[in-house]
Structure formats: structure tokens, C-alpha cells
């Protein structure tokens, strides 16, 4: 019996007339990297925002580590770290100041926050840029700091919303290594991406979402098998098979 760390049941969310998420249900096991794939506007980010308690679903239920995000949001929040798609950093502050600040926000005391900030900067290979202003960092460095901030407070689960978008292969590879390292330590991760190769590399299971609905969910190999020879089919083929080839807004 797998230990389900996150359970989402029948999530619905509309913005005016637009139904962004329409009855999404899934669960993520403890220590698992779960990929959420979908074209632009499919409802991935809205789903993550509801799971991360920043957006209230119209209906449905989410529990994280046994705590309902509706009834016990503070407890659920204490278990998660969020790495948003857009860089949520103070550009005019230094890397260390950003990390320490968000560490304090996640409940660490001053000493703990400083220690964790140093550890996370080393993890990202940015310890020598600790006092540099974020505004002066490259896109890849900012992405790594964005991830480092999500790790402050030692969360048990990470929400990574397209953490490698728009960066060079070196920085991307560095982030993959960090994520694999976290997985090996037992971290539960929800991962959204447009890059199918990184989903294949990192995720134990993936779900494909489109039009606010979950249209497929399984291991990458099982999904490939559903449409052909898994050795010849790529996850991108699976993605296009389920979501179609028409262009999206």
C-alpha cells in the first residue's frame, strides 16, 4: 500500500466564464516525483496554485501529509515548498538575504535560516555569489536561487512549476541533479514542464492535463505502451497523441 502524501479530489476552478480546472483528481506518493504535463493554458499552474493553498478551489478537496488545505492550511503549508514559474525573488536584495528572509518566513530562527541558506547555496553551486544582488544574476542563476528559496524550511514536498524554463543546458542539468539528489533523500515532488525529456528523466509517474481535465496518468513507460512500442515511442509522442497537434494560445 503506497503512502499517499498528496491527494487531490475533484478539483474545480473557474475564472469568470472560463473553466480552468475541471474535475482533476490524482495522488502523489511520498518520495515520488510526479510530472504534470500539458500544453499552455491546460490548467497546470492553476492546479499547482490550488494545491499550494494560494488559490481556493471552487470545489474539491486537497490533503497534504494528512492535512486538509481547506481546513488546516497553515499545517499543510508548513510541509511544502513552492518554486513558482515566475521568479518570486527580491531582485534588489542579495542571494543570501533572499534565502534568509524566506527562511525566517518559513519559521526558522536567525541562525537556522543562515545555516540553511549556506547549505542551499552550496547545493546550487552559488556559494561564492551569496552576497551578489539577484538583479545582477544570469537567468540560470536566478532559477537556481528560486529553487533554493523553495527548499528553505526543509519542506517535505516541493511544487516545481517549470523550474528550468528559459535557461541554458548547464543550468538545467545542474537543476536536474539537485532534483535527483532531493528525490534520493525522500523528497516528494510535483513537477510541471514542457520538456518531455526531463519528465522522462525525472518523473516516476506523469499525468497529462488539457482543457482543465486529466486525460492520462501513468508511468512514462506505461503511457508509451498505450500507443505503441515503448522503445520507439517518446513521451513527446504520447503528449501529442493525447493533446493533439493544433496550436494553443
Amino acid at each position: 500500500m503506497p503512502d499517499e502524501f498528496l491527494i487531490a479530489k475533484e478539483l474545480h476552478k473557474s475564472f469568470s466564464e472560463i473553466k480552468a480546472v475541471n474535475g482533476v483528481s490524482f495522488s502523489i506518493n511520498r518520495g515520488e516525483i510526479f510530472g504534470l504535463l500539458g500544453p499552455n493554458g491546460a490548467g497546470k499552474t492553476t492546479t499547482i496554485r490550488m494545491l499550494a493553498t494560494v488559490l481556493q478551489p471552487d470545489s474539491g478537496e486537497v490533503t497534504i501529509g494528512g492535512y486538509s488545505t481547506h481546513q488546516n492550511a497553515p499545517k499543510a503549508r508548513s510541509l511544502i515548498g513552492v518554486c513558482p514559474q515566475d521568479l518570486a525573488l527580491y531582485e534588489e536584495l542579495s542571494a543570501i538575504d533572499n534565502l534568509v528572509f524566506f527562511g525566517r518566513m518559513s519559521g526558522l530562527d536567525g541562525k537556522e535560516a543562515k545555516e540553511q541558506a549556506d547549505i542551499n547555496l552550496r547545493l546550487m553551486g552559488l556559494e561564492d555569489r551569496a552576497k551578489g544582488k539577484i538583479a545582477k544574476f544570469s537567468g540560470g542563476m536566478k532559477r537556481r536561487i528560486n529553487l533554493a528559496v523553495a527548499l528553505m524550511g526543509t519542506p517535505e514536498m516541493l511544487f516545481l512549476d517549470e523550474p528550468t524554463v528559459g535557461i541554458d543546458p548547464q543550468s538545467r542539468n545542474s537543476i536536474y541533479e539537485v532534483i535527483e539528489n532531493l528525490r534520493d533523500k525522500g523528497m516528494t515532488i510535483l513537477y510541471t514542464t514542457h520538456y518531455m525529456e526531463e519528465a522522462s528523466r525525472l518523473c516516476k509517474r506523469v499525468a497529462i492535463i488539457d482543457g482543465g481535465q486529466m486525460i492520462a496518468m501513468d508511468t512514462p513507460t506505461a503511457l508509451k505502451s498505450q500507443i505503441g512500442d515503448p522503445d520507439k515511442i517518446t513521451l513527446e509522442d504520447v503528449f501529442l497523441h493525447y493533446t493533439g497537434r493544433s496550436l494553443r494560445d
Binding site: R49, A52, V54, L55, L89, F101, F102, R104, M105
Partner: protein
Amino acid sequence: MKNLTHIWFIALKDLKLFVTDKTAMFFFVAFPFLFILLFNTMMSGIGAEDERITLHVLTRDDSGTYSQMLLEAYETTEESKLDPDDHSPIIIWLKDIDYATAKQQVEDKTLSGFVAFPKGFSADIETFKNEILAGEKPLHFINLDSQLEVIVDPDNTDQQIALNGVANIIATQMNAMQATMKSTALLADDPTDAINTFFQQLNTGQWAKDLPSVNYQTTIVGDVEAGNPANYVIPGYLVMFTFFAALQGGAQIVQQRQNNTLERMLTSSVSKEAILGGTFLGIFLRGLLQITIFWTLGSLVFNIDLGIAPAAVIIISVLMVLMSSACALMLATLIKTERAADGIATLTALLLAPLGGCWWPLFITPKWMQFIAKITPHAWANNGFNKLMVFGADFSSVVPEMIALLCFAIGFGTIAVLRFRTSSIQ
């Protein structure tokens, strides 16, 4: 307790962002002082000038010494010129030029005007005196209203008014003197002795000194002459720039909402109330920093006078910062994009500043403008500062201003609390 810790660290972070932002520090701390320096220097010129008007007099009297004695009495002495409390006009007796030359100078606009005693002035008085002493009812009654002459440049209204005033007063004095002499002659047991005593006084100029003279006072601002212009220049710019900086803080909240840092705090176990409290406290602390710098430099560099109730000045300053911070939060809740927030913050600050008396003292503006100004919190703050620092009011006089600022703060704060959100998408 956890909430208070979060509020404190959010506020400290915002304060650090402000202090480390050199551009913000220049625009909201250094720049205002350049403004103050400029306007203080400009306004200092007004107060430093001697506002006493200079009037000229001469006599055409060649028949005696009475007019000369009177002019000696009227003429402004060197001591009087130096007396800062003496607001009477400076009167110069034109001894070295004759009537025709003086008149020509007025026509040439090298002299603004003068009052001339008529020819035969002393002779007329002597005749009058002799007729009384002879027990006659003198028919010859000097009417100086018609004989004193005022020559003045028609373009110089001030001189016209002042010289006519001087002429009227001299005429009134002389007419009063004639009436007194008549009464003395009729009522005294020994009219000759009484009249001689009277003329003795006239000879010494005592008459002119005892009778009222023309008072002339220049009013610079309202009905009170302001000593140090910094006393109203600094509070005005303090109100303007404190409010402006706070609204810019509001725009930064919109920026933080747009770049998801507020949302990130929420997912880091920070309550919405703590985020609201922290952002408010951050703007409030920035404002306190600003007013501390303003008042400290104002005292050290511009020698401002906080009046008889400095505690009231401090309370109004703090209430002004409180109101500005609440207004900034309200702005952040009403506006969606950072660009719009920046524009509206600048526009609001620049519109309310002159309306609320930050660029010029409200007490020199027309009554209708002072009335309209009261829709702005700026006007209440400026009125409070002006009452305390310019008019010397006490603490109780500015309680209405304090209450008004508090009401503005509560109003803005209530809207902010009801509408505050951490995400740009709800």
C-alpha cells in the same frame, strides 16, 4: 507571536530595500532637501527686507521757522531707522533741494513723491497768534487741508496713499492746534501767558511728537509676519514627500503581488494578516525614517522652530506617516498593475501637494481654496504644522487636525484591509 515575528521581518526587509535603493533615497530624502534649500533661500529674501516705506517732505515756507520745527520733529532719526519694532514710515526732509527741483525729480521718476508745506506757513501762524493775543476773534484760520501739497508719481500707488495719509495727519494736527489755541485764549485767566506757553511747546517740536503719526506696516503672510520661512517650507515638503514615498511603497506592493513574492510568503506559512501588517509596517517605518531625517536636518541646518508644543509637531508627523501608509496600502489594493500604480501614485502625490498647501502656505490662499483643501489630508497636516510652527499655537489647538488625520488613516486602512490580496489572480 509568530505573526508578530513575521510582521517585523517583512517590515525590516522593506526597510532594507528602501535604504539600499540609492535612487529612492535620493528622491525621497536628498532631493526634498534640495527643494527645501531652494525655496527656503527664495522665501528668506522676503522676510529679510526692510519693509518700511520712505516718504519725503519739504517746505516752501520762507517766512519763519514753524514749518522747519515741525519737519525736524517729523524727520526720522537714525535711532528710529535701526529700531526693528518701529513700523512707521521713514520720513526724509529734503533740505538740499527746492520745490521746483523736487517736482522735476518726481516727473523724471527719480523721486517717488513728497509733501510740501506752503509758502507763508509761519507767517500765517504768527498772524493767527497775534490776533488771539490782541483779543480778536481771528478770521484767518489756517486750513492746511487745502494748502499742504502732495506731489506724487501717479504710477506709485503706495506713495500716493502714504503721502496723502501724512498730509492728512499734519493738517489734522495743525487744525487741532488752532482749535486748542482758541480755546486756551477764551478760557484761560491769563491768555497771553497760556498762548506763549503753547507756542513754546510748538517751538520745541513737542506738539508733533505728542500727536499720532502715520503707521505703516507691511504684511508678508496673512496677518502674521513669518520669521523663518523654513518653518512652513519644511513641513510642506515633509508632507508632500512622505506621502509620495508612501504611495511609491504602495506601488512596490503591487510589484510584489505581480512577481509572486507576496504569494511565496503565503506558501511559507505566513498568514495573510501578517503579510498585510508587515507591508504596512514597512511603509510606516520608511516614513518614520524620512520624518526623522527631515526634522533633524531641519533643526540643525535650517534652524526651524517647533513652537511651544513640539510633542504636537511629532504627533502630527507620525499621524501623517500613518495616514500615508494606510493610503499606500489602499492604493495597492485598488490597482492591478505596477505601471498603473506608479503612475497613479505620482499623479496623486503631485495633485494633492499643491491643493493641500505643500507648495505654498494655505494661509496665504483665498478662503475658498482653504475650504477645498480640507478634502486632502495634506491640508490638515499642513494646517497643524503652520498653527504650531508659524502662529505659535499650543497642543490643544491642533487636536482637530490630529483627529482628521486619524480619521483619514482609519478610512484608508479599512478599505485596504477589506480589499487586500496577495495574488494577482483570485
